[in-house]
């Protein structure tokens, strides 16, 4: 019975043209559009470096990590040169800031960095260049913190600031001299990645979540209050959980087929780079799809609306989630991550996007696993609620 229902659910889903369009074709079309739009941006951006200013505060000058990093990022010989830097040093910090603000007003720079006790990244308007500046600088500040803390831990308590700074320098030289791909900091210089790859990662997130439409349709076919076919299945001697679980399993398989095709397409045709850790990439895709599936299960079991409304709910939730996690530009993700991080912590689209992002950018896997676990919790909560709500509908189903 289980296999019988599974086999037919698979057949029914694969033959539904609307479903296949949304879950198979639409992401591929959208991905191709992204590629066309970004190839222009990428080409333009490669020629243009971004004009910024750095105020040479004492803290900046004394910190070898900052100094060297920005030197490297504005180095003529670096093929990934990112910034044109105006170094500003007036009588005092206040004057320097004034000067920087002037440059900003005149649109000579997109923003400036003011490093003192408090770290300030100042930009006038928002835009891709501004975001890249902010993002890269945030990354540098973060990395500096990590390295500093690491070293502090590793040093004996009687070492002086002087010796610490010397050590920083040594470590940093070492870091820079390692093969490009293996360094944390070098990666951030790869601007190409920092703001176009993420849109493809959101595309994968979108596809994972759209998969929910498959699960939703599949369950609707089994529910007596949602479809006349569901009435037929209800009056049969097959147990409800058996038909529902086999249908959901079928929808998961279809979802994964769609995702697999999209992966192949983005890698082969669109040249998207997911990094090299295949088992973890696949794990994230599986768990991401599970989150999408749970969204579909939840929508079908908890809402009482028509199938079209339910599809609408899934599509709009997915689109909103993807928008907030950077589908229409990384600026959005940046703004949300900085100002209302809770939103993206609860946003499954962001969990998936951020998972791919962290897999690509970071050598450590903490952030990746944080996202994986968030996704699992998200999925479990929705499935548990759905199960309870389904149990209650035992009688009086129509």
């Amino acid at each position: 019975m289980f296999y019988h229902n599974f086999k037919y659910s698979l057949k029914i889903l694969l033959k539904n043209k609307m479903l296949i369009f949304w879950t198979f074709a639409f992401p591929i079309i959208l991905g191709s559009l992204f590629k066309m739009a970004f190839s222009d941006i990428e080409n333009n951006e490669k020629l243009d470096t971004i004009d910024i200013a750095i105020i040479q505060t004492e803290e900046f000058n004394n910190n070898q990590i900052y100094k060297k990093t920005y030197e490297e990022l504005s180095n003529k010989n670096n093929k990934n040169k990112l910034f044109n830097i105006y170094y500003i040093k007036e009588k005092n910090n206040l004057e320097s800031k004034k000067k920087a603000n002037q440059l900003l007003e005149q649109d000579k720079i997109v923003g400036y960095l003011f490093l003192e006790n408090k770290k300030e990244i100042i930009v006038k308007t928002s835009g891709i260049n501004q975001t890249v500046f902010k993002y890269v600088t945030e990354e540098i500040i973060q990395t500096e913190k990590i390295i500093t803390n690491l070293i502090k831990e590793g040093m004996s308590s009687n070492s002086t600031d002087q010796t610490i700074n010397q050590l920083y320098e040594k470590i940093y030289d070492k870091v820079l001299s390692i093969n490009e791909n293996n360094t944390i900091l070098k990666d951030t210089t790869n601007t190409n990645l920092s703001y176009t790859m993420i849109e493809f990662y959101t595309l994968i997130a979108m596809t994972c979540l759209y998969g929910g439409i498959l699960a939703m349709t599949s369950i609707n076919n089994n529910l007596a209050n949602m479809s006349s076919k569901g009435k037929r299945i209800f009056i049969s001697p097959t147990k409800k959980y058996k038909t529902i679980i086999s249908s959901v399993l079928a929808s998961y398989i279809v979802q994964l087929i769609g995702l697999f095709i999209l992966f192949i397409y983005t890698v082969v045709v669109l040249k998207v780079d997911y990094g090299n850790n295949f088992p973890l990439i696949i794990l994230l895709a599986l768990i991401g799809s599970l989150a999408g599936l749970s969204l579909g299960v939840f929508t079908s079991c908890v809402f009482k609306n028509s199938e079209n409304t339910k599809t609408g709910i899934i599509i709009s939730l997915t689109m909103l989630g993807c928008f907030l996690s950077g589908m229409m530009g990384i600026t959005m993700k940046y703004v949300i991550d900085k100002n209302v991080p809770i939103i993206n912590k609860l946003n499954p689209a962001n969990m998936i996007t951020d998972g791919f992002y962290s897999l690509y950018y970071y050598d450590t896997l903490d952030r990746y696993y944080f996202n994986i676990i968030s996704l699992i919790i998200f999925a479990m909560i929705l499935i548990v609620i759905s199960t309870f709500s389904l149990r209650r509908q035992k009688y009086d189903s129509i």
Partner: protein, 312 residues
């Protein structure tokens, strides 16, 4: 006779509306029971309650001697239902649709294969096996809908208006098929608001209105509930009033109406009323173009019991 279904004091309310009001009836093994009633009289609601698809407020339902519950899988195994709405998968062709639903009951593949073909033959879809639902006409789709409900050879079959919007030929086909199922040993509950169908195929009929039974019995028994026995219609031009009065006083005549050159006469009782009438017309040299006699229909019974027509 064995009872397959026993319903006692069934009452079902949708919020304020009493859709079924204290309904009690039995269905006997091997019969076709007609549930006849106008739109909204509670036929589908009754079936849904019987199947545990709907909760109800009062009453008991026993099928095959056991109380029916949503988890009565042993009872469900023996039931087949053809719902009023078409319930088939657009994505599956005729044979797959039947096979899918049949597979929810019959595990064995070979048996199932045979059952599916039997069902296709029964409803006459042999030439449409690979057709998808949207390629079928309305009548053919109805036939598929029936095949999906009965392919597993159930002992008890519910058919909820299976012939709505079906052409006369398809309808005859379907009715023949249903009789065949009965002859093969199934018990059938058949709802409709076409009284002709009930007269053709039902062994017994229950007439319901506003959720209550207003008459039940064999079709002949029910027809006796009507106080009239015969209806005669005559087409006659410009009949004089004095004749009308005279006809009213003929033997057994209950009522006489003359409208648009058509004369309606209803008789309370008796045979040979038509011959008497023809004699009378001959003697009085009244020329008529057409004359025919009818037995009362279930509609007349309904009209008499409720004061309204069965069909809107």
């Amino acid at each position: 006779m064995k009872n397959v279904i026993e319903v006692k004091n069934l009452t079902k309310k949708y919020k304020e509306l009493k859709a079924i009001d204290d309904l009690s009836f039995e269905v006997y093994e091997g019969e076709i029971l007609g549930l006849l009633g106008p739109n909204g009289s509670g036929k589908s609601t009754t079936i849904n309650c019987l199947l545990s698809l709907l909760n109800f407020n009062k009453g008991t339902i026993k099928i095959f001697g056991k109380t029916m519950k949503p988890s009565s899988y042993d009872i469900k195994e023996k039931i087949g239902v053809v719902f009023q709405d078409i319930a088939v998968f657009e994505e599956l062709n005729v044979i797959d649709n039947i096979n899918y639903f049949c597979g929810l009951y019959i595990k064995d593949k070979d048996t199932r294969k045979k059952y599916v073909l039997d069902a296709i033959n029964l409803v006459g879809l042999e030439n449409y096996k690979k057709f998808y639902p949207k390629q079928l006409s309305g009548g053919l789709l109805r036939r598929l809908n029936i095949a999906c409900g009965i392919a597993h050879k159930p002992k008890l079959i519910f058919l909820d208006e299976p012939t709505v919007a079906v052409d006369p030929q398809s309808r005859n086909n379907i009715l023949e098929g249903i009789k065949k199922l009965r002859d093969e040993g199934s018990t059938i509950v058949y709802t409709t608001h076409y009284m002709e169908e009930v007269e053709i195929i039902c062994d017994r009929v229950i007439i319901i209105d506003k959720g209550s039974i207003i008459a039940s019995g064999t079709t002949d028994e029910v027809k006796h509930l009507a106080s009239i026995e015969e209806k005669v219609t005559v087409e006659v031009v410009d009949l004089e009033n004095k004749y009308l009065e005279e006809i009213k006083n003929l033997k057994h005549v209950d009522e006489v109406k003359y409208d648009n050159n058509i004369l309606f006469i209803t008789y309370k009782k008796g045979k040979n009323n038509l011959i008497d009438l023809i004699d009378y017309l001959k003697i009085n040299k009244i020329n008529y173009t057409k004359i025919f006699s009818e037995r009362p229909t279930l509609n007349d019974v309904f009209l008499e019991l409720t004061g309204k027509e069965l069909r809107d």
